[in-house]
Amino acid sequence: MMITEVPTALEAFAAFEGHEHRGSTLVDRVTDEALVALQELAIPNRKTEAWKYTPVNKILKGSWKPAVAGHLISPEELDIPEFDAHKVWLVDGEVMIEQSELPDGVILCSMGEALEKENDLFESVYGKQADHRKDIFVAVNTAYAVGGIYLRLAKNVQLDKPIHVVHVYTQAETAVCTRNIILAEEGSQGHMSHSFVHLHGPIHSNVVTEVRVGDNARFTLDKFQTGLDDSYHYSSEEIHQGRDAVYTQNTLTMSGVWTRNDPHVRLNDQNSTCHLNGAYVPQGKELVDNHSIIDHLVPNCESHELYKGVVYEQGKGVFNGKVFVRPDAQKTNAYQQNANILMSADGSMNSKPELEIYADDVKCSHGSTTGQLDNEALFYLQCRGLSKINAKQMLVNAFIGEVVERLVLPEMQEWVWSQIEA
C-alpha cells in the first residue's frame, strides 16, 4: 500500500533551499520556526474558513524559484507613477534608496542595515507581530524574505513628503518575499505608498509589514496594487497602535491574477483610531480577497472600514471583515461597510462581515450590499447622450470614487483613476 505523503508548502519552495533568510540569532531562530511551520501547517483548502473562497494551490503547490539578483532595470520604461515623494526601489527585494533630503529623525534603510544599526528596535518588532507559526503565507515570507524596508520616525518627527516604495519584479516563476518594518514613534506623522510592477510573469509576490504606531502618532499606508497582472500577490500588515494613535490604510487593487490582503490591527491603547479603505476591480478571471481583522482591546477606540468592489466578467471578489470588541472595550465605535457591484452574471462576490462584540456600551454597525448598476441611472445618462459604455464607466467611477477620494494626495488620486480607466 502506497503511503501518500501530505504535500506541504515546503515543496513549492524547494528551490529556495540555501536561500533562507538569515542574519542574526533572532532572525535565524524565527526563520527556523517558520520552516517548521511550513512543514507542519496543512495547506489550506475549501474547508479552511479563512481560505474558503480563495484557492491557494497555484502558489502553495506550485514551483517557485528565487530571483537572481542584480537584474538591471530602466525606470523610464516602467509604468510607474511619479509622485512628489522620497523614492525607494525594491528590485526583486533588493533595496535602492534614491538620494533625497530626509528630515532629521527619519531613518529609512534596508532591513539588513537596520538589523545592524538599530538592532534593539529591530528585534523588538521583528517576528513579534506577524504570526509565522500559524499563518502559512507569513511563514513563507519569514523563511524566504530577501529584503525590505525599515522606516522609523523619531519622536514628534513629521515626514515632509510621502515615501514611495516601488516594487519591481523582473523574472518569471520567481517568488519574491519582502519584509518591512515601520515604527512611528510618539507624536510622529508619516505616509508611505507602495506601487508594484513586474516585467515577466507569473510571479508570487509576498509582502509582510510589521507596523507600530506610537502614542499620539499618525501613519498612512497606501498599497497601489496595479501593474501586477500576472502575479499571485499576498500582502499582510500587522499593525499595533498605541494611545491616541491614528492609522489609515488604503488598498487599491486593480490587477493581479490572485490577490490577498490581510490587514490586522490591534488597538492596544485608548483613544486610537484606524481607517481601513479598500477598492477592488477584478476582471477576466481575477480574484481579489480582502480579509481584515480589527481588535478593540481597550475602551474609547474607533475603527472605520470602507471596502468597495466592482466585479467584471468572471472576476471574483471576497471580503471578510472581522471586528472583535473585547469585554473591556467600552465606548467603542466600530463601522464597517462593504458595497459591491457585479457587472456581469458570471462574476461573483462573497462578503462576510463578522462582528464579535463582548462589551455592552458600544456603537457598532456594519453593512454589506451586492447588486447591479442602477438601470434607471444608466438610462438617464444615456438619455443625456452618453454611450452605454461611458455611462457604465461613469457610474462605476462614482461608486468607487468614495474610496479613491480618501487618498490623501490629489496626484495619487489622479493616478489611481488613470489605472481604473485603463
Binding site: Q158, G187, R218, R243, D244, A245, S272, E302
Partner: protein
C-alpha cells in the same frame, strides 16, 4: 481664582486623588502632566462636578465660593468650562441650538437678556473663524459623525462662544495631527487674558511648545509632586516620569 487644598477623591471605592494642592490665580495658565493613572482626568471631572466621584476630604474655593457645594450646571454658569477628553455625541440636537441654549442659560444666570439672533450669529461667525471650523460642522448635530480631532476643535469653539473664566482642558491634544494642534493652540492663546485662567491637562509635552504655560505641575499617584516653570516640561520630556519618582521617594 481657584484654590484646591488637600483634595481627596475616590471612585468606586478607589482613592485616586490623595491630597492634591493647587492654586491658580487669575490670568495664569497652568499645565498638569503625569503618567497614566496619576489622576489627571479625575481632577478634571471632580472640578467640573461629575457625580461618580466621592470627595472624602479637602476643599476647593472658586472665586471665593465653595465649588464642591455647587451642582455641575451651576459651576458652568459661574464660568467653569471643561474641554472633555472624550466629547460625547448628541444626535438630533444641532450644534447651534445646543450652544444657543447654553449661552442663554448662562446669561440668564447673570441676569442678562438672551442674545438676539443677529448678535448670536455674529458671535458664531467670529468664533468659528478662530478655530477654522468648517461652515458645515455647525449645521450638524453635536459631535455626530465628527472625527476625534473635529470633536476637540468643537470643544474649543464652544469655549470661545461661552467665554468661561476658568477653563480646564482635559487632554485636548491627544490624537490631534499637527495642523489641528496649531489651530487649538491658536484658539486658546487668543483667549488668554488677565481675568481668565487655564488648567491644561496633557500627556504630551508637544502641546506646551504651542501654548506656553506659566507653571507646570507633575501629578503622580494622586498628588502634585513637583511644580516649576515651563522648563520643567522640557526636563520631563528628556528624562521621563521615572526620574521624578526617584526624586519623590528619596
Amino acid at each position: 481664582m481657584i484654590k484646591i487644598k488637600n483634595l481627596h477623591a475616590s471612585v468606586e471605592g478607589n482613592e485616586i486623588l490623595k491630597g492634591l494642592d493647587l492654586e491658580v490665580k487669575a490670568g495664569e495658565v497652568h499645565a498638569i502632566m503625569g503618567p497614566n493613572g496619576s489622576g489627571k482626568s479625575t481632577l478634571a471631572s471632580v472640578l467640573a462636578g461629575k457625580e461618580d466621584y466621592e470627595i472624602s476630604d479637602g476643599s476647593v474655593e472658586y472665586q471665593g465660593e465653595d465649588l464642591l457645594e455647587m451642582d455641575a450646571d451651576e459651576r458652568a454658569k459661574e464660568g467653569l468650562f471643561l474641554a472633555f477628553q472624550y466629547p460625547v455625541e448628541i444626535p438630533g440636537v444641532s450644534n447651534v441650538n445646543f450652544l444657543k441654549t447654553a449661552l442663554n442659560e448662562i446669561r440668564a444666570h447673570h441676569g442678562k437678556d438672551p442674545l438676539t439672533a443677529k448678535e448670536f450669529l455674529g458671535k458664531l461667525k467670529t468664533c468659528s473663524e478662530l478655530v477654522e471650523l468648517d461652515g458645515k460642522l455647525k449645521d450638524r448635530s453635536v459631535n455626530e459623525g465628527f472625527s476625534g480631532g473635529e470633536k476637540k476643535r468643537n470643544d474649543i469653539f464652544q469655549m470661545a462662544m461661552l467665554e468661561p473664566t476658568f477653563a480646564i482642558m482635559d487632554e485636548t491634544d491627544s490624537g490631534l495631527d499637527i495642523d489641528a494642534l496649531r489651530i487649538v493652540a491658536k484658539g486658546v492663546n487668543s483667549m488668554r487674558s488677565s481675568d481668565r485662567s487655564f488648567l491644561i491637562i496633557t500627556h504630551y509635552q508637544r502641546l506646551l511648545d504651542h501654548i506656553k504655560p506659566d507653571y507646570v505641575h507633575v501629578l503622580s499617584e494622586g498628588r502634585i509632586v513637583k511644580s516649576g516653570g515651563p522648563e520643567l516640561a522640557l526636563e520631563l520630556e528628556e528624562k521621563g516620569y521615572d526620574w521624578l519618582k526617584e526624586g519623590v521617594t528619596a
